[in-house]
């Protein structure tokens, strides 16, 4: 519903101008699915610092200095408690007022605080060790099993010795003892002080993966996960379409950010008449550009659009375009054209020529106007 213009991408789907990118080599508009993404760099959403990839991998894609609250996942702040005369640093959440004092995490200096938090994470290590031990056992087993397998294939007849050997190799399975485990009593359940909000919910448990505590006071502050800066490339010619800045403070004037809005005219609907639509074409570039509208029933000649240049203000073309008759009116860098319509959907093809530096680029697209 609503009135809007959609551009057809090569993959067959339609998108508005805001959703598309532009590839200079293929001179084609690209939708989100026609660009391949790659991770370029990592940064922390709190301290805004860029993390080199090797450091990110060492810390499991998490920030080393910022932590998140185990209850509400907002970034934790380091708070200072000066009351007892001695400085005590601890973590606190400004949103839900959780603090790390409940876990006993505090320190007299910032370093001490961070160190005490690190010891909390050694809980992960036993699991990691267990996994490594399993891996080693299986590697050894694999070598041994391979030897056994090949030996069997080599011989065709089993001798008695072979049989005895393989039987003696089998591990005997001992019967296991079943000790009845202690369960809670109904009385204890009836009289226990059950606080619903002290129990962790599934998201909190899944953040604290190694321990998955059932009570909130067991949950620890996890380091903040990093965010990624991703570059996008055209699927066909593999040229960069968007390349992000690595450094947080430097804003590159020559940044690669080829969004379609910067190069292609925006089409707006000004007026819907009974048998026509008045469309406004806005020129986003800073030099005079040319367009042709095909397959509409109007004369198919070139129309020029003026442009706004950042330095020289309005840039007008010399002389008028060949198809001036089609143009209804001109305003600054816009052109209004009336197109005949028969239904609430309008399709037409467009050829757009704009210049970038000394080159002139020509783009063909199909446009679909919705009018409801």
């Amino acid at each position: 519903e609503g009135v809007y213009a959609h551009y057809l991408c090569d993959c067959g789907k339609e998108w508005g101008i805001e959703d598309m990118y532009f590839c200079f080599q293929c001179t084609k508009p690209l939708c989100v699915y026609c660009v391949t993404e790659e991770i370029d760099s990592f940064y922390c959403r709190n301290c805004m610092e860029n993390m080199p990839t090797t450091e990110a991998m060492a810390f499991k894609n998490r920030c080393s200095r910022c932590f998140q609250c185990p209850v509400c996942f907002t970034t934790l702040q380091i708070l200072l408690n000066n009351s007892s005369g001695q400085k005590q640093y601890h973590f606190g959440c400004q949103h839900c007022y959780w603090d790390s004092l409940t876990l006993g995490l505090s320190g007299t200096s910032l370093n001490e605080l961070l160190m005490s938090n690190q010891t909390h994470f050694t809980k992960d290590n036993p699991l990691q060790q267990a996994v490594q031990k399993l891996q080693e056992t299986y590697k050894v087993n694999l070598r041994n099993r391979k030897k056994v397998m090949y030996r069997h294939v080599a011989r065709e007849i089993w001798t008695l010795e072979d049989l005895q050997k393989s039987l003696s190799n089998k591990e005997t399975i001992e019967p296991s003892l079943h000790e009845p485990k202690q369960s809670e009593t109904l009385d204890s359940l009836l009289s226990e002080n059950f606080e619903y909000f002290d129990r962790t919910d599934i998201d909190q448990r899944l953040t604290n993966l190694s321990t998955q505590p059932q009570e909130v006071n067991q949950a620890t502050a996890q380091p903040l996960p990093l965010l990624t800066k991703r570059s996008k490339r055209c699927k066909h010619c593999r040229k960069y379409v968007v390349k992000p800045e690595t450094l947080p403070n430097y804003s590159n004037p020559f940044k690669m950010e080829n969004l379609l809005v910067y190069f292609f005219p925006k089409i707006l609907v000004r007026e819907i008449g009974e048998d026509f639509v008045a469309l406004v074409f806005v020129n986003p570039t800073s030099s005079v550009s040319y367009m042709k509208i095909l397959n509409t029933g109007l004369a198919e000649g070139e129309v020029h659009l003026n442009a706004y240049d950042p330095i020289m203000d309005l840039v007008t073309a010399e002389g008028s375009s060949e198809n001036e008759a089609v143009v209804q009116s001109r305003e600054k860098n816009k052109v209004v054209i009336n197109l005949p319509r028969e239904s609430n959907e309008l399709f037409f093809d467009m050829v757009w020529k704009f210049s970038r530096g000394t080159e002139i680029k020509e783009v063909n697209t199909r446009v679909h106007i919705h009018l409801t």
Binding site: Y33, T36, E37, E38, I39, F42, A56, M57, K60, N61, D124, P126, L127, Q128, A130, V131, L134, Q135, T137, Y138, I173, P175, S176, H178, P180, K181, Q182, S183, E184, T185, L186, L189, L190, F194, Y196, R199, T200, D201, I202, R205, L206, L209, S210, Q212, Q214, L226, T228, R230
Partner: protein
Amino acid sequence: DEEAVVVEIGTAYTKCGYSGEALPRSVVKTPSALSNPELNESEFYDVLRDFLNIIYFHKVQSRPKEGATVLCENLMASRKLLEAAVKVMFEDLQVPIVYLVMENSLPVYTSGGYTGLVVDSGFTDARVLPIFEGIPIVNSYQSMDCGLKKVLECMKTKLELDNDQAVEDILVKMGKVSFGELRKELQERKEDRDYYVVPKGSGTRVKVSLRQRFTPEEVMFGDYDSNQHNIAAGVLKSLLKCDIDTRKGLINNIILCGGGSMIPGFQERFEEELLNLLDDEDFSKLKGLKDFMRVVESPYPRNLLNW
């Protein structure tokens, strides 16, 4: 880095991370559209494309081009879903190699051996798969309709709640399974207790009774004699289908995994039920195995075992 990305797309949750690490990097909810068996391949493709994009670029934060991917598939999941997932990986994300592994055949390796009985209490159903010397015995695969989905539906009707998220919240925070003394007491005594809670996702107070907390056990360990579903019975049925020589090794290495096994009291009740059922007539052939039953204890969180 040379580590492969491991992705397990479960019905309710998807776990993703790197191989060689102890824990997955991230556990996210699987989009509900993926559990709909009616979808055709291109619809799966669209949903999966967005979802796998999030997994690779936001959760695992890997460069899919630079390493292999291990995809854990579910035996009973729609084939189209698997094909669409592989298509997304090869075409969209340009993964060079994809390894497909069968979901329930892997937890055996956490016990240090090659033989075991994997009991997965998942969302859609509870599954039992015996594995002997590394090879899954697919003929003896048992599936019982006591998944967490059913538990949630049961609780929904009992609590008269319509809100899915609220019911899941209550199950997570309050669900329990009784065993031993508590079980006897619950049957003999009639006392009850009401809790008034405000679950996440609902703004209103909900009344939950003590008995209702034990809903999971009604669904998962129903009364075998009256033909209700029972996970322990499923295990024994599966054993009956196995070769007689393999049974000892299998029952000695029972591995519980899946989200349902995280409910407090699950393991103890499972052992109890198994031992009791071995006395039952139907399973008289297996009675001799009673002494050898052993459920593997592991420090590893059960719901991540498949990953």
